[in-house]
Symmetry: C2
Amino acid sequence: MASWESYLQQHRARFLDELVGFLRIPSISALPDHASDVQRAAAWVAERLSAAGLEGAKVMPTGGHPVVVAEWLHAPGKPTVLIYGHFDVQPADPVALWTTRPFEPTVREGRVYARGASDNKGNLFASVLAVEALLKTTGALPVNVKFLVEGQEEIGSPQVPDFVAAHKELLACDLVINADGGQWSETEPALLLGLRGLCALYLDVYGPSSDLHSGVFGGSIANPLHALAELLASMHTPDGKVAVEGFYDDVAALTPAERAAIAAVPMDEAAYKAQLGVTELYGEPGYSTWERTWVRPTLELNGMWGGFQGEGSKTVLPSEAHAKITCRLVPNQDPKRIAALLKDHVARHTPKGVRVVAQTGNSMAYPYLIPADHPGNLAARDVLAELYGREPYHIREGGSVPICEVFERYLGAPSVMFGFGLHDEHFHAPNEFFRLSSFDRGQVAHGKLLERLGQG
Amino acid sequence: MASWESYLQQHRARFLDELVGFLRIPSISALPDHASDVQRAAAWVAERLSAAGLEGAKVMPTGGHPVVVAEWLHAPGKPTVLIYGHFDVQPADPVALWTTRPFEPTVREGRVYARGASDNKGNLFASVLAVEALLKTTGALPVNVKFLVEGQEEIGSPQVPDFVAAHKELLACDLVINADGGQWSETEPALLLGLRGLCALYLDVYGPSSDLHSGVFGGSIANPLHALAELLASMHTPDGKVAVEGFYDDVAALTPAERAAIAAVPMDEAAYKAQLGVTELYGEPGYSTWERTWVRPTLELNGMWGGFQGEGSKTVLPSEAHAKITCRLVPNQDPKRIAALLKDHVARHTPKGVRVVAQTGNSMAYPYLIPADHPGNLAARDVLAELYGREPYHIREGGSVPICEVFERYLGAPSVMFGFGLHDEHFHAPNEFFRLSSFDRGQVAHGKLLERLGQG
């Protein structure tokens, strides 16, 4: 056993104590009252990175919640990796549903319960400890390492893209290791290769200048609610495809190998349906459930409203109707082009007698894809296969992690997703926890990944 | 001039004073705090009917706001007419928009301003004064007369149908004169021949058992908002017809004479559009605007909602979506049958992957139609033609007056609509007023109508 692994074992109790201290800081980025806690967490990370042997560790302002940077750049000729994570956490509401209090970390049955335990403090800290173990035992790292740890991930990282753009040299790297992620199960590893992008469209339908009596005027003018229903219905075919003209034009076709890799990922449809409380699955014909949620684009209504929402009847023909739409996008769709196609569709399909205002929302993310055979992924694959004793699944995710595209855009660096959370760990919900076995495994995995990248 | 008309002129100042006193009572049926005021208005009406010379005037309980009855039945061999009106009024909100206070009646420029001035106290009182003038000057009425004046019209008369059903003998009559209505303009009279009926349907669409992340799950299960939009869109053809199977089956065809009568009613489409704030009219192909609002049935969405309605984006795939629908019905549609057809349509067109609960609402009214050549209408036509110097238009209304069908059902009596309000009098809005010229004309018109019916 390499001596850095022994170091990790020897200091296990201290590391857990330190994690507990980190988890005590209620660094909730969404709540202004906790801004000073976010700042405290930033200081904690900077100090801990220094203590681990990293250089130049400091809290840097962004205009919003801060970021922390640090580096160790004494491996000439070796690649530079940027380890990314975040020290802010989700709000803890509803606190009453927690078995133990969210910011009083408690260890039970091999798990540490606290807000942020899995997302992302435990996962992030594992990467720091790997670096410490290597530096304290070997005096060096196998590659050049930088850290960028942020305090605003849970609110969508509003200032981070500009920070990255303004600090390209400070953050310059060959590869990002994103420590904010997970594995498939306790026994099954996964490589996350792709994330969907996002664009948003808001629709406002205007009819008569004021609400009208539906008995007196109904039948003679267009009802904005009907118009909205018709317009929204026009956006899908009855069998579930998106009917917006040009929507699929840029979608990257899946290779047979990609489809085979996705087909190899376990999908228990009965369990999936039971979890969601639905009796049947429904989506674009010709694709599996994982394909529908990972590699096919969607157009989803997030909200729709107009007219009377109270008890009983109110015979009103309302003046307005509204809808909010987000699309999930896949390689090579451009969120700006899709938003434009949606507006074109709205213009072409606006029913008679109403005026529709279509506005692009601020929420926007590019889809992200890293090849399975990228050297970073090959290294991660080797580490995971060694630690789990089996090949990782090649998965994607339906949601969006915009930071990946930000690193790609400003640093030219792809992201290897390398976290050890599991889906049952209640992130963003009461009773969040992190398995101590994952905490241990993450430390070893990060150390091995740095070694493997140093051999590349 | 008949002496009863002289009587009306001689006592004009007193009648206006009395109307002002009646209007001072804030008999708002919708507000529980005003229940005693509704009761006071009932007592006022009962006393005033007695003072006019009617017999048996009394306030009667209904389980809700009361009704007032009175009668004069000393015209053997002559028909019996039931004069109907109401003494309750709409709320006065927003009071700040009134030039003078809603329950401090003010006479300006030949109009009396107060809540209820036109709807219905002024119109109702005119009919009482006609009866008084006839009784005080001739000692008799040309026909047998009953009064039924209610205190819950503005809240949909919830207890009145049962009251009528339970008092068929007390209310037995050959014809109803409904004093709650209006004329076309100051110079153009109208006979209201038909009213649309009503039925209501509430839709609840259920998808997953809780709100879901639209990125993680979007594309794999049905979205209740999409399903609702599709279901609602299926209820109309793109050109504006109702697409519910069987919806038009029972609709009474219009005779060429009926269409000609409607075509003779003035319609200034430019003014109509300007009034409503729309740039174009829209409705069932092949019908004029009056036909669309008066004699063709409609299916109108009154409300629709689900998911996120706040600022910005929330990437939610919501668990539920909802809609409220009312249909306006025409002769010979049955609201219960139409509600059943709507439910059948929903069952047949429920999109895949969701569960839809369709419930019939309590709001229900049968359409109403009285032939233009009914003897009651012929008498009203003669009176109107004499007073206005021109033939009345044969109009209908798009809204519903359920009491007409109640009288038809329980008393077998059709209703002649005989009021003198005008559309600009702000009923249900701030600054309601009634023209004193209409108050005068109404008194004379009711006297002449009773005379004409006595000659029939």
